[in-house]
Structure formats: structure tokens, C-alpha cells
Amino acid sequence: MQGVPLMTAIPVIIDCDPGIDDALALLAAFVSPELRILGITPVSGNQPLDTTVRNALQICELGGRTDVPVYAGCHRPMVREPIRGHFHGSTGLGKTVLPTPTKSAESRLAVDFLIDALSAAAASGERITLCCLGPLTNLAVALRTNPAIAAGVERVVMMGGAYREPGNRTMTSEFNVLADPHAAHVVFSSGLPIVALALDATHQVMLKPEHVARFAAASGRMSHVLGELMAFWDRNDVARYGSRGGPLHDPLVVAFLLAPQLFETRRARLFVEHESELCMGQTIADWFGKSGLTPNADVVTRVDAEGVIAFFLERLSRYAERAVA
């Protein structure tokens, strides 16, 4: 079975707010035996918590990975009032209707799960990679509750921020960071090593209508749902993005872990504005040591877009193989 991890698999926790692009990231991760998914921790973000939890459960069932536990995360940002995504439809999954999940979330909350798993990882030395696809509330609350868990984190691979690229929700700010800038501040100032897949990277990988047809054709039993989700993702805004299609934000986290050769990075220290209303959620990269602080992040600056599309085509085609097998 494709979902069975390899002995050398990377232990990961996927922290997310599904979300169409989160769904694509999860579906790719589910058929990647290089990853050992310890849990999924949905958070309030694109949609309210109840919806992101339900969507995570539905996506687990869709992907045939009911073995992966889902832990409900924080129901609101650390300090600010919640904001919601604009591009995911009223359910968070566009027009796609998935069956009511039979699986339910674990009784343990996401923050407790993160603290327990990362404490155990700190003790065993088998550190965990955190794949962060939504606002960083769960991780920030866990770090503030129990700072010692930092020792259990291998690195944070996050989709969020906008460094040289303008924002997507406000002039300055990308949605995930704007939705909880205080949480981003906690993570950026935690000392944890970070890989930042910001709009600088994700706007280089547009999922175009011609790609959607190829994904649908390749993915077997998943073809209808994938085609529907991906078609809904089309921003249809050539002036903004240079082409039709939608930026492949969250899935890039999975691609970065499994195909790092497709990405170029640059070291920087990361900061986030959490005081100014005008620039709330703006992320700043110190490329040249102006802050006097050591770099804490690899910021992705270039992506091989065709390579990434080919990577996901290959991964998602595994659903066709699984149906046959």
C-alpha cells in the first residue's frame, strides 16, 4: 500500500486549514511513503475550526488514510479577531461535496498533541518536521505553553508570508500570516529553523487549466474531485498572475520536502509586523544582516514550476495505481 511509510520516512505533523490547496497538499502527502504523518492539526483560518476539522477528516477518507489521526486546533488567532479565506468557497472545498466523514477528530486537542509529540521527540532525538499550511496559531500556542518543545522540532516548513512579492490579502500581507501575525512573531522569534515558502515562491507555480485536465486524466478514482477542486482554484486573473490558473501555495511544502532540488533558497532572518494596521502581517526578510541577528530561515526564491507540476502529476497518479491494485 502506498500509504505505508518507509523505515527511513521523515516524521511530520501537518498543521493546516483546509482549504482547497491544503487538500491538494494532504492528498499528495498521503501517497508519499517518504513521509510518516503523525497527525493532522487543523486550525481556524481559511474557514472556522469546525469546517477545517471536517474538511481534514473528509480528505483523509477521500485519500484512504483514515489511519492518520486528526486533532482539532485553536478556534481563533492568538490575539486578533479571525479573518477568513476568499478563494475556497463557503465550505472551504469550493463546489466539491464530500461524504459526511465517518471518522472523527481525536479527543486530545492539537496543542496538547503537539506538546506531547514534540516533547517525546525531544527526548528520543527523533525530531519532527512541522508542515505548516495555515495560520501558525497551534504551534505558537504550543511554544508559549511549553517552550521546551522547540527541541523536538527538526524544522518548520511553512507556506506563508510575502517578502519581495506584494501581499495577497492586503497590499503588504499574505493571508496565513495576516490571519495570526502574533503567532508568526512567536515562531519567527523562537529560534526554530524555518523554510519559508512565501508568495515569492508560490506565485511562480501557477496551476493552469491545461494542468487541471492532465491531473484529472492521471488520477484515477480521484479524477472527478481533483478536477473540481482545481477548476475552482482558477483565479482567472491574468493581470495579477500573468496567466490563468491559481498559485499552488500549500502543496509546495510537500514538494519542498520530497523534491528539494526543484527549489532555490536564500538565508535570511524573518520578522513580522504585528502593530501597524496599515502593514499588519507584513513579513520582512533581513537578507543582508541589517538586524544584527543570525538568519533563521531558508527563504525559497526560485521554483522549477514545470518540475513541481510533474512531481504532483506523478504523486497524484498513484491514486490510479492504487485503485487498480
Partner: protein, 324 residues
């Protein structure tokens, strides 16, 4: 009996608040959740254990909580040099904290209270970091809180660390903001209120002479860390801020209060400043009942009599928990 969790950063006046609570049959203290504030977390936990040790309530659960504020750089109290209470002031104890973290304790206990329809009162007498973290965890946490009685903020009286803010809010303004916007009913006991009741050496002597081991410890602490400031308060004596939250629960008739919209400044130089809109000029629903006046003599009598309970109990004239 009012079921109470005390969220504290002991701290000398936290010790007075905890000992007042544990001597009062009107309140049932379910546990202490400890936060860094007046002193670093490890000292605050050690002090909580020492205070519980002298109180005789050795089975009271003590949970260590957040060691740093949510967002701002950490600051400690004016009397941070206290650290862990010296053994000469408060004797050593073998009371130890629980393994469970304070935030997990709060989330677990308050969610259970919400499910049971029997919400719990929180006395928040330190920076409100633990409470803010718990409130972000799950919506049932707010539903499990009957009200938060907090010593914090100042509206007309200058602060001690900076003129525009009271320490507990200044130390974690973001946490205070989360609590004030949580929708949970709040009773705010600001500096304006606590500085109306001044305790002098006469009262500390009473603690020492009448209050058994607990009273002796409290008397030693207040004598060692004298808050008297005639220039500031206009007469001898010093406030015991945190104990006023318990007094409000035990003897609400000692207080006058007004509904207000309370807010916290989260940016700029005046970080941690608090306002109370009593007159509705902001056109926002009020979120707190602000205590504005206290019957000084009544509060002093309450605290000195309740501390004397520890001496009476030691002398065998009272069983524990018997109303005074």
C-alpha cells in the same frame, strides 16, 4: 461555595490572596495555576508551594504555567529581587507542583465545567498569559468560566513600573486584551481601587501574632517588603492588591462598582495602558464591572480576621473550613 481557580504569580500579595482564599468557607479553591510575572516562573511555583505548605491545605493542586508573556519582551515586578521566598520568611516545604501544565489544567477543568453547566470563577492576580492561552485552545473554555475577577489595570492612578500602566497588564498586555475581548464576565480590580486600602505594621503584627504559621509568614513578607510610600499614598501603609479579588468574592458589599468598556493599548510606547469607558462614549457594549470604591476598614478587618483563622485553628479552637 464559589468554586475558584486562582491564577497567580506569587509574589507577596498573591500570598495574602491565596491565604485569604484558603481561610474562607465562602470559596472552594480547586487549584492554583501559576504564571511568571512578579518573579520568574520557577520562583513563582516555589513560592506557591511554600504558601500552600504553611496554609495546611497540602493537597491543593498547584500547576506551573506559562514562563513568558505571549508577545512582548518579558518584564518582572518591582519586587522581583524577592525571587523564591527566603526560608527565614516562609519556611521550606515538601509540597510540590503537579505534573500537568497549568494551561492544560485550565482547559480540562473549564471544559468539564462547561459540559456540567457549572462554570468556575477565576481569580486572576498575575499577568493573564495562562488564561489567554487557554481561551485560544477551545471555545468551551470561555463557557466554563462564570466570571474572571482580575487584579489588573489602572484608570486614574499612576502605575508603579511605568506611569500609564499597572504591572499585571503591562507584563502581558496581549493576554489582557484576549481576556477582555473574550465575552467572559469580568470584574476588574484596578490600582485605583487597591490603593484605597492601606495596610500598616499594626496589621502585619496582627498577622504574625494571631495567624499561626501562615500569618507569621505573611507578616514577615510584608515587613521585609514594605510597600509604605507616604509621598505616593498621602499616609502611611501600603496596598495588598491581589487580596482584593478574594474580598470581592467573599464580601461584595464592601465594594462599589460601575459597568464599563475596558480596553488595552497593544502598540507604541504606552503599551499596556488601560482605559475604562464608563459613559459609553465608544458606543461599545460594556465588558467589565470595574470596582471603583472599597470600604477600607471592612477589607482590613476581613483580611486580618481571616488570617487569624490560621492561629485559631492551630490553637484548636476552630476546625478547618468552619465559617468565622
Amino acid at each position: 461555595m464559589i468554586r475558584v481557580i486562582i491564577d497567580a504569580d506569587p509574589g507577596v500579595d498573591d500570598a495574602a490572596a491565596i491565604l485569604l482564599a484558603l481561610a474562607s468557607p465562602e470559596v472552594d479553591v480547586l487549584g492554583l495555576s501559576i504564571v511568571s510575572g512578579n518573579v520568574p516562573l520557577t520562583d513563582a511555583v516555589a513560592n506557591a508551594c511554600k504558601v500552600v505548605g504553611v496554609s495546611g491545605r497540602r493537597n491543593l493542586p498547584i500547576h506551573a504555567g506559562a514562563s513568558a508573556p505571549l508577545i512582548r519582551d518579558q518584564i518582572f515586578g518591582k519586587y522581583a529581587a524577592i525571587g523564591t521566598f527566603a526560608d527565614a520568611l516562609v519556611p521550606p516545604t515538601d509540597v510540590v507542583p503537579e505534573v500537568e501544565h497549568a494551561v492544560r489544567f485550565l482547559v480540562r477543568t473549564l471544559r468539564a465545567a462547561a459540559s456540567a453547566g457549572d462554570p468556575i470563577t477565576i481569580c486572576a492576580i498575575g499577568p493573564m498569559t495562562n488564561l489567554a492561552l487557554a481561551l485560544v485552545h477551545h471555545p468551551e473554555v470561555a463557557q466554563g468560566i462564570a466570571r474572571i475577577v482580575t487584579m489588573g489595570g489602572t484608570f486614574r492612578t499612576p502605575g508603579h513600573r511605568v506611569p500609564w500602566a499597572e504591572f499585571n497588564v503591562l507584563a502581558d498586555p496581549h493576554a489582557a486584551d484576549v481576556v477582555y475581548r473574550s465575552g467572559v464576565p469580568i470584574v476588574a480590580i484596578p490600582l485605583d481601587l487597591t490603593t484605597q486600602a492601606l495596610f500598616t505594621h499594626e496589621h502585619f503584627t496582627s498577622f504574625r501574632e494571631r495567624g499561626g504559621a501562615a500569618g507569621a509568614a505573611l507578616g514577615h513578607l510584608f515587613t521585609a517588603f514594605d510597600r509604605s510610600d507616604v509621598a505616593r499614598y498621602g499616609r502611611p501603609g501600603g496596598p495588598i492588591h491581589d487580596a482584593a479579588t478574594l474580598a470581592w468574592l467573599i464580601r461584595p458589599e464592601l465594594f462599589e462598582s460601575r459597568a464599563a468598556t475596558v480596553g488595552v493599548q497593544l502598540t507604541g510606547e504606552m503599551l499596556g495602558a488601560t482605559y475604562a469607558d464608563y459613559d459609553g462614549v465608544l458606543h461599545r457594549a460594556s465588558n467589565a464591572q470595574v470596582a471603583t470604591r472599597i470600604d477600607e476598614a471592612g477589607f482590613i478587618t476581613l483580611l486580618t480576621e481571616r488570617i487569624a483563622f490560621y492561629g485559631d485553628r492551630a490553637a484548636g479552637s476552630l476546625a478547618p473550613g468552619v465559617p468565622i
